[in-house]
């Protein structure tokens, strides 16, 4: 039997007939969501259709040459670059956020300055970061086009992203947890690391995912700092190219469009995988 608290089609139709404006708005919002979903599906579908047939074993060869245009070195570089940048920026950003939320007094001038700076940094186009990286890390510090220079440049780029999200995550941890902990005679350090931080992990993770998204998708800041050599790096000072840069290089050369699509498929799968993984991780942490 149908539940009586569900409106039947007839009842709904009657309600909408008496107010055409609601009907119009309903159609409008439904259409908007439909277009959004379709655009996304079309994009993913298009890349998949164009790319999957070109995913040949030779694309995963250990070395890159003009015969096989292997994406494996770029894949490895992407992973290395991501890990390295997160390693540099993550702790810095999280500790900075902890200071701003848990230690600094409210209305402190320094806090305001740090916040404004962070917000400004997120708004700067990545090519500017690239230029800075080129002038400072590559030239002044004489690191050359290298994994290290690229990772440091990206680290500066994602620093404010992780910091802001961590700040928000810490801010949304209820004060009652802090009171409870202080009330038992715990100091601030213990309160922050044992009680507050674990509750904020899902929020911090979402910031890290956002950062990974930026790293994986970055090209402009990397071409000037990490270079475009398609090889598995032998040291931190080797020049490297990530998947995005690889894609850019392939399609700009105009000879390997099919392989560029295949690269896009791999990139897409990586991003989806990271999203899924971090979602699962956050759920697990939340459950304790």
């Amino acid at each position: 039997m149908q539940a009586m608290n569900k409106q039947t089609w007839k009842q709904k139709a009657k309600a909408y007939r008496s107010s055409p404006l609601s009907l119009f708005l309903l159609i409008l919002v439904a259409l908007a969501s439909l277009i959004t979903v379709c655009a996304l599906l079309f994009l993913i579908g298009y890349i998949m259709v164009k790319g999957i047939p070109n995913l040949t074993p030779s694309l995963f060869a250990w070395t890159y040459n003009t015969e096989n245009v292997s994406l494996l070195p770029a894949l490895i570089n992407t992973i290395l670059m991501t890990l390295l940048s997160l390693l540099i920026a993550g702790p810095l950003a999280i500790f900075a956020a902890i200071y701003l939320v848990e230690y600094a007094k409210r209305g402190n001038k320094l806090v305001e300055i740090v916040r404004v700076t962070a917000e400004t940094l997120t708004g700067i186009p990545s090519i500017v970061y690239g230029l800075f990286g080129l002038l400072f890390f590559v030239t002044t510090l004489k690191w050359g086009y290298s994994l290290l220079a690229g990772a440091f440049t990206l680290a500066i780029m994602i620093l404010p992203v992780i910091m802001r999200t961590t700040e928000e995550a810490l801010g949304s941890v209820p004060d009652t947890f802090r009171e409870g902990s202080f009330g038992l005679g715990a100091g601030r350090l213990r309160t922050v690391f044992v009680v507050v931080l674990p509750s904020a992990v899902p929020g911090i993770l979402s910031g890290v995912i956002l950062a990974i998204g930026r790293i994986v998708g970055e090209t402009a800041a990397l071409m000037y700092t990490a270079g475009t050599v398609a090889e598995v790096p032998s040291s931190l000072l080797s020049s490297t190219r990530t998947l995005s840069v690889h894609m850019y290089a392939l399609s700009s050369e105009g000879l390997y469009t099919d392989q560029a699509y295949a690269t896009a498929v791999v990139l897409l799968i990586i991003v989806l995988l990271i999203n899924w993984l971090s979602g699962a991780l956050a759920k697990k942490v939340k459950k304790g």
Partner: protein, 249 residues
């Protein structure tokens, strides 16, 4: 000797004069109830007794508060003070961890890490808070899955786990149903044998039922302080009588 000796205590939130020249001597092993209308300063005074007001920005305190004759605003380590003077809050605030870890948090904070010792403390605290039988089979489960009344008793157990001398209770039953409330009240009466209990309450009957002494506050001032029986039957002050009989507040 009195547990707490409060003399000439004034407290300001920025420009607001929240407590005015408070002088009180609170005896040990009794339940003292703080009553009065909202905003009269009773919770503020309670939080001054374990220095939780230190966390409030713009809060300024003058005067003296002695715990067993020791000035708590003097050389005393704040964390040590809060270990001696435990607190139970208005809304149950268990940490988002297991029941066991909630109780063990305090002892671990103060340096106890032996598994056997912690097991003992957890069991004893939960027994003292009259909740052991209900949770003994799910110590490893999250404390957030308990009912409100259970959570509040868990918070009491958590406070007891660090072996305090005083238990401050800030309207501990205001968010609870009548059955949970009566359990907490029974518990408070049981606990006063070993602890000094100071309880803020909005509930006149509760103050009359369980407390030994009652302090009536109005607009930041102590209007009346005496044996609960006397305060409720023959108050010295007209304002106390008006408040207790429900003419305002």
């Amino acid at each position: 000797m009195d547990k707490f000796t409060i003399s000439n205590l004034d407290l300001y939130y920025d420009d607001f004069h929240a407590l005015k020249d408070v002088n009180l001597n609170l005896p040990p092993n009794e339940i003292t109830a703080f009553i009065g209308p909202s905003g009269c300063g009773k919770s503020t005074l309670l939080k001054s007794l374990n220095r939780m007001n230190d966390l409030v920005e713009g809060c300024r305190i003058t005067g003296k508060v002695l715990l067993d004759g020791e000035d708590i605003y003097g050389d005393m380590n704040v964390n040590h003070l809060r270990k001696r003077v435990g607190m139970v809050f208005q809304k149950p605030n268990p940490f988002p961890m297991s029941i066991y870890d909630n109780i063990a948090y305090g002892p671990r904070t103060h340096g106890i890490h032996s598994r056997a010792k912690l097991d003992d403390i957890v069991e004893k605290s939960l027994r003292d808070a009259a909740i052991w039988e209900e949770v003994k089979d799910r110590l490893k489960l999250s404390a957030l899955g308990m009912s409100g009344g259970q959570q509040q008793r868990l918070c009491i157990a958590r406070a007891l786990a660090v072996e305090p001398e005083v238990l401050l209770m800030d309207e501990p039953t205001s968010a609870l149903d009548p059955i949970s409330t009566s359990k907490i009240e029974d518990l408070a009466i049981e606990l006063k044998k070993d602890y000094t209990i100071i309880m803020v309450t909005h509930n006149m009957q509760q103050a009359a039922r369980i407390s030994d002494k009652t302090v009536f506050f109005l607009l930041g001032e102590v209007i009346e302080y005496g044996e609960t029986e006397q305060v409720f039957s023959v108050p010295n002050n007209k304002k106390t009588e008006d408040y207790i009989t429900g003419r305002f507040g």
